[in-house]
Amino acid sequence: LPDDFDWRERGAVGPVKDQGSCGSCWSFSTSGALEGAHFLATGKLEVLSEQQMVDCDHECDASESRACDSGCNGGLMTTAFSYLMKSGGLQSEKDYPYAGRENTCKFDKSKIVAQVKNFSVISVNEDQIAANLVKHGPLAIAINAAYMQTYIGGVSCPFICGRHLDHGVLLVGYGSAGYAPIRFKEKPYWIIKNSWGENWGEKGYYKICRGPHDKNKCGVDSMVSSVTAIHTSKK
């Protein structure tokens, strides 16, 4: 495994977006993973639509018919991948722009840009997460966002942090050591793309520590999934 890795340097990560006042983080995590997978499959970075999932994805957990994706009221990335496999794929942001609230579904199958071939859930093992990141592109992950409301920058590594998951984000890379502005402590870290706009965090990104002494910090290793895309020729 390389010591440092960052898909942003390889063109597999789209622009930072802003979910606004809508509990749709899951759709941004899902679209970010599929943007990366589509890039790996085709060499093209397409900015994909979250609104299609907010409006049209009401997929439920296979094992619990009441646990369903529901627009601004929350969803799950793996269920969204299942929806995308059934719907045929995802339109572009341009064709189905983000509105920040749930509307009636306006999905147009003829405008699908990216298709999900398959998705996988990765074990709670940091080497496996890093290996899947390098192999399959950016990963859809969940995290406990307790420290993110006040986060400005640096490598977050709280002494105490719950592991119940309440936010969906995108893992785009990792670094071997980062510096905290005041304490110059070196911490290996994950690089995470958030969906709260560029005027939050480090230009929209968040760093959280990883490594043998800081495993699964804030639950970051607990719910990790990768997706692979098919090359869809545009009709």
């Binding site: 006042s21 509990g23 074990s123 590594c157």
Partner: protein
């Protein structure tokens, strides 16, 4: 309860002091100055004086919370963000959105389990 100032609160904290004036309790003037700067920076406007007063009290509580986070998370920088006038509950309800997976999804037996990849060499 989250904002009860623990004994540790008294420690000086160089980072947060850039955001919040010295001393443990926020002076009225201090909070007002920071809040006015926050309003300008993020273009905030409130319905009326009552709403603004309430939001300023939430803001002051969040400054104390940022100071606590800084203490608990010293390798990051914590302070005023665009969410500083929201209670933790409002923040959670409006800007997160991860649904809890069903028990089965958590317990394992996941049909989409990823194969183990080689990580040495």
């Amino acid at each position: 309860a989250a904002l009860s100032s623990s004994a540790a609160e008294g420690e000086e904290d160089p980072l947060i002091e850039q955001v919040v004036g010295g001393g443990d309790e926020l002076g009225e003037l201090d909070a007002e100055a920071h809040f006015a700067s926050f309003e300008r920076r993020f273009g905030r406007t409130y319905r009326d004086a009552g709403e603004r007063a309430y939001r300023m009290s939430v803001f002051a509580a969040n400054l104390r919370r940022a100071r606590r986070h800084q203490r608990l998370d010293p390798t990051a920088t914590h302070g005023v963000t665009k969410f500083s006038d929201l209670t933790p509950g409002e923040f959670r309800d409006r800007f997160l959105g991860l649904r809890r997976p069903s028990l089965e999804g958590l317990v394992g037996g996941e049909p989409h389990e990823a194969p183990i990849l080689p990580t040495d060499g």
